[in-house]
């Protein structure tokens, strides 16, 4: 294949996927040196320090929670579902970009996924971990979580309600976590072998050697690997839809106005992908700078992610519009009250408009190609979306609950310092895990990047098979 498939100077011509002048050697050297070096960037220490500090706040908050119970939180009737579920949904949503990038884009043969899939998958794993914390601790008695969550024959013959999406959640999320972990690890195996062969220190050699599961790179290994990877991608694909669909059912199957909307499943899925891509950009833009990876995470990747964000964001906005319109159109007193309360006269109306600012107004700048290629602008937009998507769940959950059907049960919800320290603690945990991952494992798939090098192209077109 000589040059680009598009005529010269074509506006449709994509930016390159990999910087010029790279060979197999230079890609391997660059990507392994990020890990196998004694020089850690100062910014890395600074970020991990902040993350770890926040995580310690989390540990304190949870310890106190175990002593005192959930009375330390702002959660109370009628807002019986607050921070834990907001944070749970937010984290689960963030994970979705990883699965979309690794599975769906693989099936769609989108080669731009290659340099971002590894750390997006890691992000998925860590996000699921952070999410899973909340269902376990939300009662303040995690030692009882086993029989609340899992259906197993117990001495009290108490079973979870199988018609409840909360129990579907347990299966959806644990399947999701498991498949994501497998997918991520299988993708890592060939790179672990590269690291084993590149590492100098005997202990490191041992460490990566064990992780590489005896990979020797024979043709048979590769054939099986490709097979397994494709199968796992096929298995992961429905998970992108199913997990957040079930999460949306947590709300939608109830009859609370503001929760009971049939648009919820697709709208939650789109929101999850929106949020997930925002988080990928939030991580990719600084990491790219910190480790000088501009040749690997090119403007093409950044721009494509911006496009995905724009599209899924618009679906989200469509969801808000439908909620508002049909809330009114229903002619139902409670539905209409909710819409008016949420958007206009309610005490939380500010949160709705901040949400509109973050998720709707600011991200519209991504219609412009110039903005999509400006990392500063995109980073800002991504941060707005991160906040906006958290607020979206806040708006859905808190504004729907704080005005009960009976005005005598109306009450405000005020999160306490323990709510915040738990939430920011999981952010700290996430950041810490992400940066430790970047430090000890290849954040960009080394062997897949090699397939993008010009050397690989020459061979494949000579062989006539690609």
């Amino acid at each position: 294949m000589e040059g680009s498939q598009y005529p010269k100077g074509d506006f449709r011509e994509p930016l390159p996927l990999i910087g010029p002048g790279h060979s197999f050697r230079s890609i391997t050297d660059k990507l392994t040196s990020v890990v196998l070096t004694k020089h850690t960037p100062k910014a890395w220490f600074a970020t991990v320090a902040v993350g770890f500090l926040l995580f310690n706040g989390f540990l304190i908050a949870v310890t106190y929670l175990l002593f005192k119970g959930i009375g330390i939180w702002g959660t109370n009737i009628p807002v019986g579902w607050a921070f834990p579920i907001i944070n749970f949904v937010w984290w689960i949503g963030i994970g979705h970009a990883g699965t979309l990038i690794s599975a769906i884009l693989l099936l769609f043969k989108q080669d731009w996924r290659t340099s971002i899939n590894r750390f997006a998958e890691a992000m998925t794993l860590f996000a699921v971990m952070c999410a899973a914390i909340f269902p376990v601790i939300h009662t303040g008695r995690p030692w009882l979580a086993a029989y609340w969550l899992f259906p197993y024959p117990n001495a009290m013959t108490i079973w979870p309600n199988f018609r409840s999406p909360l129990i579907w959640d347990v299966f959806a999320v644990s399947t999701y976590g498991l498949v994501s972990a497998l997918f991520w690890y299988i993708g890592l195996v060939p790179d672990m072998a590269t690291f084993r062969d590149t590492a100098k220190h005997p202990l490191l050699k041992k460490f990566y050697g064990v992780l590489s599961l005896g990979w020797r790179g024979s043709a048979r290994h590769w054939a099986r690997y490709e097979h397994a990877y494709l199968l796992l991608a096929g298995l992961s694909t429905p998970l992108v839809l199913s997990v957040h669909t079930v999460v949306s059912f947590d709300f939608a199957v109830g009859i609370v106005p503001g929760w009971h909307a049939t648009i919820f499943p697709p709208y939650f899925v789109a929101g999850a992908i929106y949020d997930g891509f925002a988080m990928v950009l939030t991580l990719a833009i600084p990491l790219r700078k910190m480790y000088h990876l501009e040749d690997f995470i090119t403007m093409r990747h950044i721009e494509n992610m911006a496009k995905v964000m724009l599209a899924t964001g618009l679906v989200c906005i469509y969801g808000y519009a439908c909620e508002a319109f049909f809330g009114w159109y229903s002619g139902n007193e409670y539905e209409r009250f909710l819409v008016a309360n949420r958007t206009y006269f309610g005490p939380y109306a500010w949160s709705y408009w901040v949400l509109i600012l973050c998720n709707f107004l600011v991200p519209q700048m991504m219609w412009s190609k110039r903005m999509r290629r400006n990392v500063w602008a995109l980073f800002t937009a991504a941060m707005f979306v991160n906040v906006g998507m958290w607020l979206e769940r806040f708006v859905i959950i808190v504004t729907s609950l704080h005005r009960d059907f009976l005005p005598s049960s109306w009450e405000m919800y005020r999160p306490t310092i323990w709510d915040f320290s738990t939430f920011f603690g999981t952010v700290g945990l996430f950041v810490t895990l992400m940066f430790v991952f970047v430090r000890v494992l290849p954040m960009i798939s080394v062997f897949e990047m090699r397939t993008l090098a010009p050397d690989a192209r020459v061979k494949s077109s000579e062989g006539g098979a690609h």
Binding site: T245, V253, I263, F264, L314
Partner: protein, 405 residues
């Protein structure tokens, strides 16, 4: 295939005129026979005829608008699958004037169709609460706006496409960029018009009922109809030049995969609505399903499930089937029939029709076929009127070269 100006001109010139003309006369015959039965239906059934009419209109208009949507998606994303199908979509979108004319009887029969338009309807407090949206002038204005918006989009996409055929330079530039510049924002507009259209024309048949996912279900259904129709027409055209020269297994495979995706999406949207409404079991929502689980509609619900999801899902899993236009066309035909049943299922069981006994009648099918015959006649004329492949599109060559591997 070496591709140059001459090849492009040859491709543009090649057209199976006779075969298309034969298809058109058959469609016309079908339409005329169908219209005769429509006349009988109108005479015999009186008011319930209009419900059958709405079903047929909604189905065929869905093909026009669905084709417009897929066409815009193609302009945004590119690819060989769209290059081979583009002229089919354009021909389908150019039937819009017919649809606009066909809508007029619905407007005239509006009080028969829509309970909220009848005198005294506002004594119902729920309807009274919605009069800001559900009132005749606004309803009319919206209908005009939908046709005006779709008409504008369709006019420009077709005009620019014709200009591509006529102008010799095959270079990319502002002329091609405008397709994209229009399609991006107009897809957003399209989604909004479809949502409100589905509320106006179908959801308001039962003015008490509402579902926020309704617009998306309509959207998925239209996309599915359009893709199934495309594959059917392509399988017919594939036998003659120019399509026999450019249509490869890869393009049909991509289109079939897309249709497969829409089968799953449609089922996903429908099951989402079902689970949520069933769990909530609210008096204003659940009647939708209760009506559709009574009498003849219970087996029809099963038929919709089987023919629009289960069977096509299982069949389309096969790769070799998806790559062979002469095999995948049967699945497309099944899906198109299932879509027609689905539209009937969406509209006919609505309460408040002056019907006695079964709410399904033979007139439903007569109008569907009669109107379809006319629509198809128009479609075939449109298709024969222009080149069947946009051979002078600057991306045509590249898009099809991709089919090689």
């Amino acid at each position: 295939m070496t591709f140059d100006e001459q090849t492009a001109t040859n491709l543009l010139g090649a057209r199976p005129v006779q075969e298309i003309a034969r298809a058109r006369s058959r469609s016309l015959l079908l339409g005329v026979v169908g219209l005769v039965f429509c006349g009988i239906g109108l005479a015999v059934k009186g008011q319930t005829f209009w419900q059958s009419y709405l079903i047929a209109f909604y189905f065929w208009n869905g093909l026009t608008i669905g084709s417009m949507a897929v066409l815009m998606v193609h302009h945004l994303s590119g690819g060989g699958w769209g290059m081979v199908a583009r002229r089919i979509w354009e021909a389908a979108t150019r039937t819009l004037p017919l649809n606009a004319v066909l809508f007029l009887p619905i407007w005239m029969a509006r009080t028969t169709l829509y309970p909220w338009m009848r005198p005294g309807a506002t004594s119902d407090p729920v309807i009274a609460a919605k009069t800001l949206y559900l009132n005749v002038p606004f309803f009319t204005l919206r209908a005009v706006a939908y046709f005006a918006i779709w008409g504008t989009i369709i006019y420009f996409l077709n005009k620019w496409s014709r200009e591509q055929d006529e102008n010799p330079p095959m270079l990319p530039g502002p002329q091609d960029r405008r397709f994209r510049l229009l399609s991006g924002p107009c897809l957003v507009v399209y989604v909004l018009t479809i949502t409100f259209m589905s509320v106006d024309w179908v959801m308001s048949l039962d003015p008490h009922w509402y579902s926020t996912i309704y617009g998306i279900i309509t959207l998925g259904g239209q996309g599915l109809s359009a893709l199934a129709f495309t594959i059917l027409v392509l399988s017919f055209l594939a036998k003659f030049p120019p399509m026999s020269e450019v249509l490869g297994a890869d393009q049909i495979h991509d289109l079939a995969k897309l249709m497969f995706a829409f089968v799953m999406l449609w089922a996903y949207f429908q099951v989402s609505q079902l689970i949520i409404v069933w769990s909530g079991n609210l008096p204003e929502e659940i009647p939708f399903y209760l009506e559709r689980l009574q009498g003849i509609w219970a087996p029809i619900s099963i038929v919709v499930l089987l023919c629009e999801f289960v069977l096509p899902f299982l069949l389309l899993l096969s790769r070799s089937l998806k790559r062979n236009p002469q095999r995948v066309k049967w699945v497309a035909l099944l899906l198109l029939v299932a879509r027609a049943i689905d539209v009937t299922w969406m509209i006919a069981p609505a309460p408040d029709f002056h019907r006695t006994g079964s709410t399904l009648s033979w007139v439903d099918f007569a109008v569907l076929i009669g109107m379809g015959g006319i629509w198809l006649t128009y479609f075939w004329s449109n298709l024969a009127g222009r080149a069947l492949v946009p051979a002078k599109d600057p991306y045509f060559k590249e898009a099809l070269a991709h089919g090689g591997h």
